[in-house]
């Protein structure tokens, strides 16, 4: 897939014998918003640093915009804007001066600064020193830095980290708008499932350094198979009865789960006729969190 915005092959990184990222093969289509999900410590930041050439892979390769990162680093970085965790800003300079730093290195026109400030809604704050900015404003200025020049790809590592709910909404709405309005691919790492659900067209899930899922958000949703949750007075007998009647079930604490949701009425009738007191029968859909947890073995999100 030479036209991919990002393509890695068997990307691995080891720190002092400890493996942080293992055999990760990413494929990010142009124009997509790709959410790179994983619990804290899964290896997302390490992968992103390898994508941007900050860390050298122990094994594997990285290609951005169809070019090998090692051979075409400068051409790639000219087309790739990034925001890694907290924005890198010089507090003693104004917002405009911070953008000027990027503009000069990129050789972009002076008008890019106004354009970027306009996109992130900081037109009126550009002349103030960054030390007077709120965290949300700093994050928006960080995004503006990433938008200076002719960027085809934005790589954002936890861009809403440390923001209050209003700041999170602001930044998410910006990220959602960017691909639609400016035709830029967005690769976004996050440990927040809601964030991924709200803005991503594609999802990759990293667990303990390994990519355990990669596909469209729709493909991930398909894993949210509905099931029937049943509670009776004698749960183990009920499970055995339903299994013998041809409905395989799995125990789930005080309940049992049946996969055939179309048989809700028939299952209820069989249980009642066998003398069970049926307390609860309901169709449930696995939450995004449950899918994520089952894939990553994470305990707490």
């Amino acid at each position: 897939m030479p036209g991919q915005a990002i393509r890695t092959e068997r990307l691995s990184k080891t720190f002092r014998g400890k493996s942080a990222v293992r055999q990760v093969s990413l494929s990010v289509a142009p124009g997509s918003v790709y959410a790179f999900l994983g619990p804290n410590g899964a290896g997302k930041s390490t992968t992103i640093r390898m994508l941007l050439g900050l860390l050298r892979p122990t094994e594997g390769s990285v290609a951005l915009h169809g070019m090998d990162l090692q051979r075409h680093r400068l051409q790639i970085l000219a087309r790739t804007g990034s925001l890694i965790e907290n924005p890198s800003l010089y507090a003693h300079l104004t917002g405009r001066e911070n953008l000027e730093i990027c503009r000069r290195v990129l050789g972009a026109p002076a008008s890019d600064i106004d354009r970027a400030l306009d996109i992130v809604g900081l037109q009126n704050a550009g002349g103030s020193c960054v030390k007077t900015y709120s965290l949300g404003m700093k994050q928006r200025l960080g995004l503006a830095q990433a938008l200076i020049g002719r960027r085809d790809l934005l790589v954002l590592d936890e861009p809403t980290n440390g923001l209050d709910p209003a700041g999170m909404l602001e930044v998410r709405s910006l990220i959602r708008e960017v691909p639609a309005r400016h035709g830029i691919t967005v690769f976004l790492s996050t440990h927040l499932l809601t964030e991924a659900e709200q803005i991503a067209t594609h999802v990759g899930i990293l667990s303990r350094g390994e990519l355990v899922f990669q596909g469209t958000a729709t493909e991930l949703s398909l894993r949210r198979q509905p099931r029937l949750r049943i509670r009776t007075d004698r749960i183990s007998d009920a499970g055995a009865l339903l299994a013998s009647a041809g409905w395989p079930v799995t125990p789930a604490g005080e309940s049992i789960l049946a996969e055939d949701v179309t048989a809700a009425a028939a299952i209820t009738r069989v249980l009642v006729e066998a003398g069970h007191a049926v307390h609860h029968v309901a169709v449930e859909t696995a939450s995004f969190e449950e899918i994520f947890l089952s894939m990553t073995d994470a305990e707490v999100l």
Binding site: R49, L52, G53, L54, L55, R56, R73, L74, Q75, L77, A78, T80, S82, I84, E85, N86, P87, S88, L89, Y90, H92, L93, E97, E100, I101, C102, R104, V105, L106, G107, C129, Q145
Partner: protein, 251 residues
């Protein structure tokens, strides 16, 4: 990489100096030396002149010596640490994801540090002249009528070049370790050893932080030219430092 990109990277490093202590130090450090020696000469210079001394030579020698032995090592340590400190605060990841070669960033920062040192020398030169001109008015007995530039100009030129090796090493240390304390500690070690070896005529002459003071002393024929040694040493250290910086992982 084009020359134009390198020039842009250097101008970016200059822009980062705006409103910083690093820029203020260019004036503060040499002016402190100038004022101190101006006051010393004002208070006690008359006695020296009566004994046959030359107040202007005394002012030049004392200012240059104090600058070279004490103030310059501290200045170099502080400036390189402040310049590197601008990035150690989590900014490397942004600097190094801009489309400029890493070596260019490293060398640009080094050039800015060199520029700051040379600017401080210009301030020291101008300040010493201004101090002598003021003393001529307020203390005519010092006989500061003629102010030949040679005793001030050439020593400063020698120091400006011989000090480059120590500056290049200190620059690498400041960039290599994020800790401000480590950089300052190394600088203090350099200053003290430089001070100790200032009077070690043999191998002490080639100690990186003693080169500058030895460079203003007369050179015995056959001895290494310390100005040249400082310059070549600085180029070698800068090259090695930029190679190491280019290969480093940025966590």
């Amino acid at each position: 990489m084009s020359l134009s990109l390198f020039v842009r990277v250097v101008t970016v490093e200059c822009l980062k100096l705006k409103r910083t202590l690093a820029l203020g130090m260019v004036v503060l450090a040499p002016v402190t030396v100038v004022i101190l020696h101006g006051l010393i000469l004002y208070a006690g210079g008359e006695r020296s002149v009566r004994g046959g001394g030359d107040a202007w030579s005394q002012l030049c020698t004392n200012s240059v010596s104090m600058w070279t032995l004490l103030m310059m090592p501290m200045f170099v340590t502080l400036e390189t640490s402040l310049l590197a400190g601008l990035e150690h605060n989590g900014n490397w990841k942004a600097v190094l994801t801009l489309p400029a070669p890493r070596w260019a960033v490293y060398i640009a920062k080094l050039l800015v540090a060199v520029g700051l040192l040379w600017m401080a020398h210009v301030v020291l030169f101008a300040g010493t002249l201004a101090s002598a001109s003021t003393l001529r008015l307020v203390q005519p007995s010092l006989k500061l009528d003629a102010l030949p530039l040679d005793p001030l100009f050439w020593p400063l030129v020698s120091i400006s070049t011989a000090a480059l090796l120590g500056l290049a090493i200190q620059h690498w240390v400041s960039i290599r370790w994020a800790s401000f304390t480590a950089a300052i500690g190394f600088g203090m070690f350099a200053m003290i050893t430089g001070f100790v070896f200032a009077n070690a005529a043999a191998w002490g002459r080639l100690w990186p932080w003693s080169l500058a003071i030895h460079s203003v002393r007369p050179n015995t024929p056959g001895e290494v030219d310390l100005v040249l040694a400082g310059m070549i040493g600085a180029i070698v250290v800068a090259l090695l430092g930029s190679i190491e910086f280019s290969r480093r992982d940025i966590p």
